[in-house]
């Protein structure tokens, strides 16, 4: 019980502490692709250009995820038996739950 409370509390303290620490910080928190990769690339005359497929336009990214979710869900459902074949062997150590002994309960 103590562990159950301790871990979420620890995570909460870390998240809240980190949040206020980062808010008070004067750092820009730019990614290293900007601070390192782009810096050297620009110096060498090869600045990055816009992505070939630019999804950062309005809700286009959301639409892309919707389409990907629908397609992915359909493919997963269609190939369900191939992905999760009905086999007795399992990768995990968990033993399958015993089937109810219907036959033995009969008179």
């Amino acid at each position: 019980m103590k562990k159950l409370l301790l871990y979420p509390l620890l995570i909460l303290v870390l998240v809240v502490g980190g949040y206020f620490l980062l808010r008070r910080s004067s750092g820009k928190w730019a990614g290293v692709d900007e601070t390192v990769v782009e810096k050297f690339a620009r110096a060498a005359g090869h600045p990055p250009h816009r992505p070939l497929i630019d999804t950062e336009k309005g809700d286009l990214l959301l639409f892309c995820f919707l389409v990907a979710g629908i397609l992915g869900g359909f493919v997963m459902g269609y190939c369900f038996h191939e992905l999760f074949p009905p086999t007795t062997s399992s990768l995990t150590s968990k033993q399958p739950e015993a089937e109810p002994q219907l036959e033995s309960s009969r008179p």
Binding site: W29, E38, A44, T55
Partner: protein, 244 residues
Amino acid sequence: MKKWILLSVVLIFVCVLPASAMHLSEGILPAPWAAFWFVVAIPFVAWGLRDLRRRSNVTPVFKPMVALIGAAVFVISCMPIPVPTAGSCSHPCGTGLAAILIGPQLTVLVTSVALLLQALFLSHGGLTTLGANITSMGIAGGFVGFGVFHLARKLGSPLWMAAFLAGMLSDWATYATTSFELASALHGSGSFLHMFVAVAVAFTPTQLPLGILEGVVSAGVYCFIVSRRPALLQSLRVVKAEAV
């Protein structure tokens, strides 16, 4: 397993903010170099596909397991983590942990899928630089992680330490390879070595602590699996029965 897959899918859809890190953006590499890194990466991806077919023929539930680890690599390599020592953000890679669990060639495969999705939907990396990014994150990260883990085990290191070293060094190897790719393509008339060192040194304040963090996370996840599902590691042939 279904719960894990569901959790991974939810995490993928929650994690829609593009991270900014080691992935080389569109247009940074000149065309010949971009093509060269594709030539390097394609045989490894083909090797991974072949390995997936072979191993899933033996164990059919292996395929969803690989998909699950692919989802984990996707999410981990999308997470921008602020590093106070540098005042910038970067992301871990997750390829060290993946390589321990499914092997380096399959790590290349799942990394290529993760990077392709990130380039298509999140503007994270690029399509023209996909080969270079697969080489640094999948090939360098995966093979270094796998090699370090098994070398450490052979030298008698405990499991958690081997997983820690694999996670940490695979992260550093990824960024060292990115430095190599940038320096080899962009050094121009200057010295290759000078530019390689300059890029690697520029990465250091962010990646040094982040690599250690990745090592800790890899060791934590690995020890969790060892304690909860040791048979999973035996069936994946990661460790022998007596080791867990």
